[in-house]
Structures are given as structure tokens and as C-alpha cells.
Amino acid sequence: MMIGRRIFILQKRSFTSVRRFLCPYTSQAPNPNPSPAQGSASFRSAGSRSSILHFNVPYIAVNRSFFSSHAVADLPVGGIVDVPLAQTGEGIAECELLKWFVQEGDQIEEFQPICEVQSDKATIEITSRYKGKVAQILYVPGDIVKVGETLLKIVVEEAQVSTYVLENPTPTQEGLKNIKPCDSELTKNDICGVLSTPAVRNLAKQHGVDLNDVKGTGKDGRILKEDVLQYAFQKGSIKDPSASLTSASRRQFLGGEEDHPHPSGEVLGSYEDKTVPLRGFQRTMVKSMSMAAKVPHFHYVDEINCDALVELKSSFQNTNSDPDVKHTFLPTLIKSLSMALSKYPLMNSCFNEELLEVILKGSHNIGIAMATPSGLVVPNIKNVQSLSILEITKELSRLQLLALDNKLNPADICGGTLTLSNIGAIGGKFGSPLLNLPEVSIIAIGRIQKVPQFTDDGNIYPASIMTVNIGADHRVLDGATVARFCGEWKQFIEKPELLMLHMK
């Protein structure tokens, strides 16, 4: 029994899921410097080369394995590190600060306990990821601290590389050594005060580039991979930056940037084996995908004629007088999805394996996978059943902007009941998505492509066709239910006027 003031559990989840996303978004280099609350993820896809991908939609932050009792910090700039309250358990968005073990001015060691917090039934000691001096304490005992908010600021020593996002508890010393720079040039780049990720610094090192000489085109003057490659090309270090860029950006789209550089052969010019320890979201993804793999999935694939949808979108755009609103296909797809869910609530449910219970969720909180500079996130639009298409458009835009800025709230990321994965943004015909547990269904939609179709009398006409792949938990859903649900959804997309029949 908890006091309301202290705890706020948003939603309990039985499983973690980290998934791959897709969204028509971003060509920016991801920033592997996410704040835990947004659960940015940088992680990779399983099969990056084939056109049929094994889809893992990324999803973060408020999930079970996504927690740490190590206060994870932002990339140090000028030596001061903001140390946020890391996720300490699934569904937990806030903790009460109970006491500090340190005070301003104290010298602290790595892994030293710095404070104690309480979340629900547990008191938890939070340890420091860094060695340094406590510069500023931002909360007092009794305060409620949201996950992701800065607890304290530490002056870190030079050459400490902030590379972890959220990860397993207590990284070993060895693990840390793998990431620490072991080269004086890289150290120089670390402490020069330029904004750049470890991957970019490593790339700079490979090309003999001093980051101080490179002009950053990213946010806040951040130096991106492209900036380094461009500079190196101009310097004559590499022949063709666009080839490297293509492979780099392809990797970004496919899996996001990670703490460790994954240079392609053409950039490195070396063919040696490289061991990459899995950290942060990638490590969590190993666990969550393993758990998702235990769920018997089946996939249902269908094609949807989007001619009417294309026309509808044009109509919305042409009559749009609000410069802040940009109409895309997604909101209509989302609203029609919700309409179909009303008829097939089992698709919008959560499965509790322990109790052998299915919870039919009342709200349609549709998660939309997005790419952000920090990686992949799946924020969800709450209560789609009660929103108009215009409201969905605005909410989607709000979430996208927050995601890009790495400012999503835990509330935006928790509580999803079904996930929509827009693989079409990247390419390929369709994906084979894995469930975002404990949801029981996930929908991957491919690109709308103009293809020839035949009329009954053998004439050819063009049609805009979108392929969808619905992944479903076969313990809860059967083929017939999913097929009927898909048919219902398809009807609303192919004949949007039917939405008016259900308009209230």
C-alpha cells in the first residue's frame, strides 16, 4: 500500500521489449547520448541486408530490463556531468529521494553509493558511474524525482568517456576499459570541449582528424560523422565520402548509431576482427528479443489499396490553412486502426502469462516507432479512440518533435497497447515484426508503391498498394481473428467514407 505522493507507477509490464522502429524521419546522425527517460535506443537490426527484415521495433525506457542503479550521465561537456535518475524498474516513472550519502564538494569514486531512493516497495541505493567531485545536488530528501531528471552534477575527471545508456547493473572494470580511449589523440579530442559522440571521435582518430578543426553541423554545433568524413575527404584522407556516408546513414536507419563505432571495411581499410561488447540498449535488446522469441508468433500479410488514402491526404493538405499542421498518411491509418480495434478488442490487449489472463485494454494507445538523434523510440498516442484525425496529426507531430529533441516524457513512452511500425520509411516490401510484449499484436506497414493491377476484363491500371504484416501472439490470437481484424482495418483505409458512419 503506497502513499500517492510517493509513487507513481504508470503501467506494469511483464516483459521488456526493445524494438526496431521505422519512421519517415531523420537523416541526422543519432546521438548516443540519450537520457534514460526517453529511452532512446541505439541498436541494430537482426538482418540488415535483406529486403525482408526481421523486425524488432525499438521501445524503451520504462521497461523492465531498462533499469540501472547506476546513475547514468550525459556526455561530459567541460567536465561537468549531469547525472539523471536512471530507470529502476518497469513502469516506474518517479522515485522518492530518501537520503544522500554524499554532499557538495565530496570526492566520489566509481560505484560509490550516492543516494537512496524509494520506488513502490523497494528502497534502492543509487551508485555513481563516475569518479569525480560532487558539484551540485539538486534534490533534497522527500522530493519526488522523475526518472531522467538530473539528480546531481559531478565534475568528472578527464578522459572518462560516457558511453553507456541504460545497462545492466554494475558494469565491470573490464567492460569500462573496452570503451575508454587508449590513445592520446582521442583523449585530446575528448577533452577539447567539442560536442561529438565516441563513435565520431573514433572515426576522427581513424582518419587522423583533429575534431577542433572540424565544423559541426549538428544540433548545438555537434560534430557529426558526415562532418568528419567531409573534412577527411577535403584533406585527402579518403576518396569518396558519399560511399562512406551512404553506408553510415544506412546503418543509422537500420539500427541507429551506437556507443561503439561500426566502421565498414571501406572506411577503415582494415579487415581485422573487432570485438564489440554489447552495452546499453543493445544488451537489453538481446534479453528482450530472447523473451519475445519465446512467444509463439504468427504473421499475417495483406495488401491494402491506398488510392483513397492518397486522395484523402491531398484533400487534407489542399484545404489546410494551418502552417503548423502537416498532413501525412499515418494519422488516418492510426484512426482507422482504432476503429477496427473497437470491433476486435482482443487485438488491443495484454497477456499475463502468470495468471493466464488477457486484459482487454480500454484505451487505444497506439505506439509509433520513431527515429531520433538518440536512437529509436516508440512513443504512443493515448486514447486514439477519442481523438479526431486532426488531433492525432497534432499529437503525432508533438511526439515527433519531442523525440527529435530527445525530450519525450516517460508518460509518452509507457502505456502503449499496440505498436505500429512504419518500415516503409526505410524501404523493403514489408517486415516481419516481433511483438512489443506484453502487447499481443504489432503491425509493420510497408511503403506505398504504385503497382499495376488488373481489372476483371484484363485491363491494367495503376494502384497505390501498401503491404502490411501483422505479427500476433498465437497464444491469444488466432489467424481468423487477425484476418478479420485486418479486413476491417483495410476497409476503412480503402473506403475512408466508412469512417463517417461511425463518427460520433
Binding site: M2, K12, E96
Partner: protein
């Protein structure tokens, strides 16, 4: 730190107590958590007198009917673990696990994994006896709670302790207020519809024996007695678990009645 006993299975010291005051039990637990490097299972079959035990940041004014508590002189303890408020008495059985963070394979030292692990352990205990589940953070038969949990997680160790409602007295309910936050599965049920007695399912000795057997599936369990622990105790250790003073409770009572007054006044404006 793993104390391997049988090959690959860590050692666990079992301490069986009977009727030990809850404050003494909590002091022992806190000391073992913070100063020992071994794994422990403590079972206290009943406590000597009715005592209210609040979680680490419990506020008496919000949680207790302080006037009744003061009138009947019920001791109030604030423990070192999180969680809610319970009234414990001779009808309560306590089971505590204190482990090193790597002691249980596959269980990460965080609230939910530990809670799940404990649910699986007690599943074995109650196999064939009742419709046992871990529901949110409670142990239930069907949808009625009979066990409440609390935890504390330190850098290298964790404690998960449970108070089991083997039997209860109806009149003791009167000392506790309905908490502001209740688990979802409680729905709108009153206290008596929400809880159940473990004695309706099995005897104390069967429960304790089965719990020890279940612990043996994860650990190599060996019995230790209290005296052995006390003699090797770290006398410098000062537990944070404590009895609230009369003054603190009276101040809380005053605060509670002042809040009531100002609330009434604001409504009447």
C-alpha cells in the same frame, strides 16, 4: 561472495525464530543486509505483540488512526525497507531473504526481478494448496491478499521480506487508515473482502517446512542460531529501523487534526 555450497549452488544461512519482537527482527535483518556477506533466510513464526510497521518514508498522519494508536499504546516502528504499513501480531509469520546480488542465477538486483523470483519460489510452496499468485506486489490466493512484501536493494545485496497473514484480528484493522494508493486488483473492496487468512489453507509448520524446501532448490541451506550471529555482530552498526516516539506520534496527531480543521474551513467558505 557467492559462498558456493554444493557445486554451483550458493550457501544460505537459515535462522528460525519464534515470537521474536518485530523490532528486534528488523534490526537483525538490517544488520545482516548491511554488514554480512552471506545469504540469509530468516523465518520468524509470530511476533510477540501487536505492532504497526510502516515503510521507510511512511507518514503516521496519513497512514494511521493516531488517536486509537496512542490510546491503545500500540508501538509504531519505521522499518528500513520500502512498501506500506502493516499491523503485525502473533498471527503473522515473517519470511525474509537476504542475498548477494549474484546469488540467484538470472535474478537481477532490481525490485521486479526479485519480486518475480519470490513469486516463483512461493508458487512451489503453495503448489496444490491454494490458487496462489503474485499479484502486482502481493501474494494472493485467488484475488485475496495474504502476504505483503518489501525490499531494500543496496550496491551489492538485496533483501526481500514478507509478512504473511496466517491469522488476523478484525479489531486491529481499526488502527490503519485506508492507504491513498491501493493495488489495481483490489478494485473497490473493503479490507475484509480484500484479505484472507493463510490458516484456512495450511498449518504454520507445513508452511515453514515447505518454504525451507523451496529455498533449498536455489541454495544450500544450513541452519544457524541467533546466538551465533549475535556473538559475531558488528557492534558499530547502527540500524535505521526504529520505534517512533510518543512525541512524534502526538505531533503527527496534532498535524492530522489541524489538516482536518483547515479542510473543513475551506469547504465552508
Amino acid at each position: 561472495m557467492g559462498n558456493p555450497g554444493k557445486i554451483g549452488v550458493p550457501m544460505m544461512n537459515l535462522v528460525r525464530l519464534k515470537g521474536v519482537p518485530i523490532l528486534q527482527q528488523l534490526h537483525l535483518e538490517e544488520r545482516l543486509l548491511r554488514t554480512s556477506s552471506h545469504n540469509w533466510c530468516i523465518i520468524n513464526d509470530a511476533t510477540n505483540q501487536p505492532t504497526i510497521v510502516m515503510g521507510v518514508s511512511g507518514k503516521p498522519a496519513e497512514l494511521l488512526e493516531i488517536e486509537s494508536v496512542l490510546c491503545d499504546q500500540i508501538p509504531v516502528v519505521r522499518r528500513f525497507t520500502g512498501g506500506g504499513t502493516v499491523l503485525v501480531d502473533p498471527g503473522t509469520i515473517f519470511v525474509t531473504f537476504i542475498c548477494n546480488k549474484d546469488a540467484v542465477a538470472g535474478v537481477q538486483p532490481y525490485p521486479q526481478p526479485i519480486m518475480s523470483w519470490s513469486g516463483a519460489l512461493y508458487n512451489k510452496v503453495f503448489q496444490g494448496i491454494g490458487d496462489f499468485h503474485l499479484r502486482e506486489n502481493d501474494y494472493v490466493f485467488g484475488d485475496r491478499k495474504f502476504g505483503g512484501n518489501a525490499q531494500s536493494i543496496t550496491k551489492n545485496r538485496w533483501i526481500h521480506h514478507t509478512s504473511f497473514l496466517w491469522d488476523y484480528e478484525f479489531r486491529n484493522m481499526a488502527y490503519l487508515k485506508l492507504p491513498a494508493r491501493v493495488p489495481e486488483y483490489r478494485l473497490a473492496r473493503g479490507h475484509l473482502e480484500f484479505i484472507c487468512r493463510m490458516k484456512d489453507y495450511l498449518s504454520r509448520s507445513v508452511f515453514i517446512d515447505r518454504t525451507i524446501e523451496a529455498a533449498k532448490t536455489h541454495f544450500s541451506v544450513r541452519s544457524t542460531d541467533l546466538e551465533a550471529i549475535e556473538t559475531t555482530a558488528n557492534t558499530k552498526f547502527c540500524p535505521s529501523t526504529r520505534l517512533l516516539t510518543m512525541q512524534e506520534l502526538e505531533a503527527a496527531a496534532k498535524f492530522a487534526s489541524q489538516s482536518k480543521v483547515s479542510l473543513t474551513q475551506s469547504f465552508s467558505l
